[in-house]
């Protein structure tokens, strides 16, 4: 028997009455305590100086003959081993050929979705992540399995099988991900980034069209082009010592050589970006029609390369904007206009950083939010105070220290420092580097990158009034949202 239950039943006996016009009265709240009793909560205990930071990591790095750098971070007190392998040769601006090939490395290995079936070793599956900067392989294992894990990871990355049958099932999986991606905020972000000069993020739908043409031969050809130990970095963090781990790493990776590349590989190369050339002359606003929810704003603005001297100050400025005690985030929240607008620095593109902002806003305040975010960004040079900067620096430092509880985070930090052109030991120095940035430096960087900020902006769930009255010079590009984003046709 089919029993149709509608809203009333769904609401249930407990809160179905939420829609009812009349509500029962609650008892009156007790009166607040007298002011004399509350005075104790006006003055906080004195602020104690932060304790000296000590990060007792043993860090050593060697280079193998094939160009692979190997860093070992020893943390005897930990109970797991984190392994990170980064190949800058395998970059991909979108969900494209290299991304898919990297995922197909799984085809023919003895991995299951979550656990390896080899009874002697049981790990999480290897996490594979491809960006423009390269492909990283991340794994966490039991310390006693470190040696075997390094051997398996080497085989996984450098000696794939690309089993034809499994490849087909894994390609179907990729197609599903791409389909879902097309309706996601990640897609919105890529659309926004693509509005910046020199940044191309091919649409995932375009990638999907050629997906099922990937056969074993194609995959091996892509593998030869993209997978190389040259300039690659391997980081191992766990309780095992440098003397133990380095021979294991040499045995696993030392014999791997860089493959010969032909001219066909050139199309896959990802050139570093020039941040100055990615700056816009005016705000580019992409309006996406369709959808029934609150407006969702996404912004992207180019910034200095992570290897630049300006980078740390630029990243701190982003933290200030994100902070609750300054600028738009607080102002908009106090207007009740948003639950949260958040920003971050995207460093997944080589040679450039992107300041990215996104959040959802009340329809009536969408225009005000957009305007305020941009003005706030432009005025940061003048409005930033010493106190704000100091608080943000301390929070960031503390957040960094807390993150180091995880060996995977330590491995990621070491890789990040290497990518910034620093030695892996810089993970210990990073808090000091951060704290040394001055207000004057931040203002200078704000002047350079933010004072005339012309971001790329994408807005979905558009309210009626957005552009008229905005008071900022914008170029408008309209699109509509169906199953996938399509350019808005005339007359729609």
């Amino acid at each position: 028997m089919k029993n149709q239950l509608l809203w009333l039943i769904a609401g249930g006996a407990f809160w179905g009455a939420a829609c009812a016009p009349a509500r029962s009265a609650l008892p009156p709240a007790p009166p607040p305590p007298p002011q004399s009793e509350l005075a104790v909560w006006q003055t906080a205990p004195p602020l104690v100086p932060d304790s000296e930071l000590s990060l007792p990591f043993g860090i050593r790095r060697v280079s193998l003959d094939n160009g692979l750098g190997v860093t070992v971070v020893t943390r005897p007190e930990t109970q797991t081993t984190a392994i990170e392998l980064m190949l800058p040769s395998a970059g991909d601006p979108s969900w494209g050929k290299v991304t898919v090939m990297a995922e197909m490395l799984r085809a023919g290995t003895r991995f299951k979705a979550q656990v390896m079936t080899n009874p002697r070793l049981a790990f999480e599956a290897v996490n594979v992540n491809t960006s423009e900067s390269g492909t990283s392989f991340s794994w966490q294992v039991l310390p006693r399995a470190t040696e075997q894990a390094l051997g398996l990871l080497s085989s996984f990355v450098f000696a794939p099988v690309f089993d034809p049958e499994e490849t087909q099932s894994r390609l179907r999986e990729q197609l599903t991900y791409i389909q879902r991606y097309s309706g996601s905020n990640a897609h919105l972000l890529n659309l926004t980034r693509e509005a910046l000069p020199g940044i191309e993020m091919p649409s995932p739908e375009a990638d999907a069209r050629g997906l099922f043409k990937f056969d074993q031969k194609t995959l091996f050809a892509l593998h030869r082009c993209a997978i190389s130990p040259r300039a690659a970095e391997l980081v191992i963090v766990g309780p095992r010592t440098f003397e133990q781990v380095i021979p294991w790493a040499r045995a696993a990776f030392g014999a791997v050589s860089a493959p010969a590349r032909d001219a066909s590989c050139d199309a896959l190369k990802v050139a570093p970006h020039d941040p100055e050339k990615s700056r816009l002359d005016r705000i580019e606003l992409q309006i996406i029609y369709g959808g029934s929810f609150d407006p969702f704003l996404v912004m992207a603005l180019p910034g200095p390369s992570p290897t630049s001297d300006e980078y740390v100050a630029f990243a701190l400025l982003e933290e200030v904007m994100e902070s609750r005690d300054a600028g738009s985030a607080q102002a908009l929240r106090h207007m009740g206009a948003t639950y949260g607008i958040h920003s971050w620095i995207n460093t997944s593109l080589p040679g450039i950083s992107l300041l990215e902002i996104s959040g959802q806003v009340e329809p009536d305040n969408a225009q005000a939010a957009l305007k305020q975010l941009i003005i706030d960004m432009r005025e940061l040079e003048q409005t930033l105070t010493e106190q704000q900067l100091e608080e943000v620096k301390r929070r960031w430092r503390n957040s960094y220290v807390t993150s180091l509880s995880s060996n995977r985070a330590v491995a990621g930090s070491a890789l990040w420092q290497i990518q910034r052109g620093r030695a892996p030991e810089a993970i210990k120095e990073w808090p000091n580097e951060l704290m040394a940035v001055s207000l004057a430096q931040c203002r200078e960087v704000a002047r350079h990158w933010l004072s005339n900020a012309q971001p790329a902006v994408t807005v979905t769930g558009v309210p009626v009034k957005l552009v008229r009255g905005l008071g900022l010079g914008v170029g408008v590009h309209e699109m509509f949202w169906t199953d996938q984003l399509q350019e808005k046709k005339k007359g729609l």
Partner: protein
């Protein structure tokens, strides 16, 4: 509060992308566990052998766990009140109050400013069905300031809240609701799922309220609610990190000791655990929501029985989830398979959630699960597979250990289902094959979310036998 969102974005940051649009959060699983859930494999409370527990004369419970691995302390102030305490016609009040406790007017500094001043991170709060948890990661040197801030939350209450701020914050809560659950039928589905799992009169409902209900909440409601529930005897303070217990205890006594219970009598926590002794038995076998959202899913709920120890069954459930994920990947039927044990104070249940891939026939998913049940029996008889599974569990247990905040949140949990500290790797025996029937489809509440092309049945909710 917003920080939860921030954490989500931080997670997305690693991929250089963003989170998913709202429609992806519409899973009924998310609706039922939308509060800082402890990781599925977080260490269970009784594993914290070094924990020091005591109670102040005013009733405040305190748990201290020293861990000097990092110069930081995870602090959780957990108030024993949640969405299930919302008055019947004021759904969302517990959540609204959670937001309001951050809003203070001069001369009282807002809570976020105070935390910013000491460089605290992970400042956040969440209102769950059973508790409201306020969390912060403190620099170790700033423990006293952190304690003072949380004591102030209880001591000051809403005495420094202005009416304009209360109205602004209500709009913020509305935006949060819109962001997470702008499509309200999903809330109805969550409430009906609770009603089915917790058969008979029960206090649980969707953690968020409808827009109309939220719009009627007032600061006066919140003040009454605060006086009723935000009391020292309903609060548990948990500190995990770089602390000396004797020193921390003295500081807790200094700042929390002077708090007195309000003059109104406390709502007795009473014998709430008696609920947990009742079996949760679905009275309907299947709920189905049709909506205009394309994200289709099918969730299987398996209530934990009164005599069961869910941790002992963890390997079986984990294996089931892993097998389904693998077959889903091979067949392309599903894009996502997620499973977890959801512990509520009044009962617990396993949820296995399968995101059906776009364009895939919904009807194929259930036979797939049934087939896997059969395969699992053979799997549990294979010692090598058991060993592999055991080591994976051991690894995941170890990975959970260094996370100070996860441990603190675990210690704040009040669910009545007993949890024991187990060595998961030793639980795997071939006899587990007998337990596979525990997760038979016939024992599950099945909740479907299907895409509906037509506007006429958009949002319709059915209960099928």
């Amino acid at each position: 509060m917003g920080r939860m969102q921030v954490l989500g974005w931080f997670a997305a940051r690693k991929r250089g992308g963003g989170g998913m649009v709202k429609s992806l959060t519409l899973g009924s699983l998310a609706a039922l566990s939308l509060v800082l859930p402890p990781p599925a494999r977080a260490a269970s409370p009784s594993c914290e052998t070094a924990a020091e527990r005591f109670q102040l004369p005013n009733g405040l419970e305190v748990v201290l766990v020293p861990d000097t691995s990092l110069p930081a302390i995870a602090m959780v102030s957990s108030v024993h009140v949640g969405s299930r305490n919302d008055p019947p016609d004021r759904a969302g009040l517990a959540h609204y109050l959670e937001h309001l406790t951050y809003r203070q007017s001069p001369p009282f500094a807002p809570v976020f400013d105070l935390y910013d001043e000491i460089g605290a991170t992970e400042v956040n709060a969440s209102t769950g069905p059973d508790t409201t948890d306020y969390v912060a990661m403190l620099p170790a040197a700033q423990l006293e300031r952190g304690l003072w801030i949380e004591a102030r939350r209880l001591g000051l209450g809403l005495a420094a809240l202005s009416e304009p701020a209360a109205l602004e914050e209500r709009r913020v809560v509305l935006r949060e609701h819109e962001l997470r659950f702008g499509y309200e039928p999903i809330l109805s589905l969550a409430t009906l799922t609770y009603a089915t799992l917790f058969a008979g009169a029960h206090p649980y409902h969707a953690p968020f309220a409808s827009v109309s209900s939220l719009e009627q909440l007032s600061s006066e409601d919140a003040r009454w609610f605060f006086a009723e529930y935000y009391r020292p005897e309903r609060t548990r303070l948990v500190l995990v990190g770089d602390l000396q217990p004797s020193q921390a205890r003295a500081l807790v006594e200094r700042h929390f000791g002077a708090l007195v219970a309000p003059t109104t009598p406390a709502k007795a926590p009473a014998s709430e655990c008696s609920w947990a002794k009742k079996p949760l038995s679905p009275t309907h076998s299947r709920l189905r929501l049709r909506s205009r959202y394309r994200n289709e899913s099918i969730d299987f709920y398996f209530p934990v029985g009164p005599e069961e120890d869910p941790q002992l069954l963890a390997p079986v459930f984990d294996n089931l989830r892993g097998e389904i994920a693998e077959v889903a990947r091979q067949t392309g039927l599903a894009h996502e398979v997620h499973g977890e044990l959801v512990s509520r104070e009044l009962g617990s249940y396993w949820v296995l959630s399968i995101g059906v891939a776009p364009g895939q026939p919904f009807e194929k998913v259930e036979p797939l699960v049934a087939k896997i049940e059969q395969n699992l029996r053979a799997s549990f008889a294979d010692e090598s597979d058991l060993l592999a599974r055991g080591q994976a569990l051991e690894l995941s247990e170890r990975l959970a250990q260094p996370r100070l905040m996860a441990r603190a949140l675990n210690l704040a949990r009040r669910e009545c289902v007993p949890s024991v500290c187990v060595d998961a790797s030793k639980l795997l025996t071939p006899s587990l094959s007998n337990q596979v029937d525990r997760f038979a489809l016939s024992k599950a509440l099945i909740v479907e979310q299907r895409y509906s092309v037509g506007a006429s049945d958009d949002g319709s909710l059915e209960s099928l036998p």
